[in-house]
Subunit: 199 residues, 2 copies
């Protein structure tokens, strides 16, 4: 005798396939949704469907959007002389939240990682170089993650872009604001020392 | 200019409404689903819909099931003289996984909690008492959680059931198997001492 209803088992299973959601969390979420009004589960179901059916990648910057080109690429008030290169659409969001950057983006959709078999050809690098040829770009800000893969990707891109005579920059590394010097790792502290500025 | 696609924002929002899922995890899950094949997001959407549309509560034990009465209540090979009283359907699953219990259940759908405004009338307690009147029950195993609310609920039920002349039992408290005596909290250790058995 099966003692768990099939729809319950199926939802636990589907939740478990999401990254960072183990079987225990998946059960907890499923039984939470069993108890809540039908509307909440259906709203989540609709949101999932709409995510896949009503979004596209911008054909210019490859950010996720409802239409291509995306609102950022279409926005004529933005500075078209800088392109900020990031790994993921989430990174665009993070930079937008600062309200400090008013230029363009290019989403690579990953970083070079020989271990995971991700070579430059799997990323939107060719598309970036094509943009640099035709758009009035003066600076490429490499905002890939400050980890092994992100650094390797930035180095690779810097070497490709250098011959084009453009300014190539990278986000500053240092202590996080609100952080505690005592708990900073050695590498971050080394970068903070190297990047020290006059007051 | 909105810089995040509406379907993306909506899904982040819906994920954030789930317990234990903060805005960061909600973003991470959403962008993960953006990258995966359409099928995975749609399978999750379907599972959510089916959870609400293809499950019911068993009219006898109030466990979640595809039909009422549920397979456990229908199973004629089960011992009908014991009812195990639990707070949630997840608890039924946990006990079934032991493969040690082959009798019936009753799901209260919560525990008495004056702080949260949950009185006995909000739980399936009346329904339990009705079952005890008509079913051939000899023992009620109170398997509510070993915390404040669960203990209070068990005490409350024990007092109601005592006049019926049935055996009322409670799950043993003690050290968890594989646990470390050194790290056991005082209350658990006290219970383990009180419940010590001859070898």
């Amino acid at each position: 005798v099966r003692t768990i209803a099939k729809p319950v088992a199926k939802l636990i299973d589907e939740f478990s396939r999401l990254p960072g959601i183990g079987p225990k969390t998946a059960s907890r979420l499923t039984f939470y949704l069993l108890r809540t009004p039908k509307e909440q589960a259906l709203a989540l179901a609709d949101a999932l469907r709409e995510l896949k059916e009503q979004t596209v990648f911008c054909s210019t910057c490859f950010n996720i959007a409802e239409a291509s080109p995306c609102p950022i690429c279409r926005d004529e008030s933005r500075d078209r002389s800088i392109i900020c290169v990031v790994e993921e659409p989430l990174d665009v969001l993070a930079i937008e939240r600062t309200r400090e950057y008013k230029a363009l983006y290019h989403v690579l959709h990953g970083a070079i990682s020989p271990v995971e078999g991700i070579g430059p050809d799997k990323l939107k690098i060719h598309e970036l170089l094509e943009r640099l040829k035709v758009e009035p770009v003066k600076e490429v800000l490499l905002a890939t993650n400050p980890n092994l893969e992100g650094e390797a990707t930035a180095m690779y891109l810097a070497r490709l872009i250098a011959p084009l005579g453009l300014r190539v920059t990278r986000l500053a590394l240092g202590l996080p604001v609100g952080g505690d010097l005592e708990y900073a790792d050695e590498v971050t502290l080394t970068r903070a020392l190297e990047g020290r500025r006059e007051m």
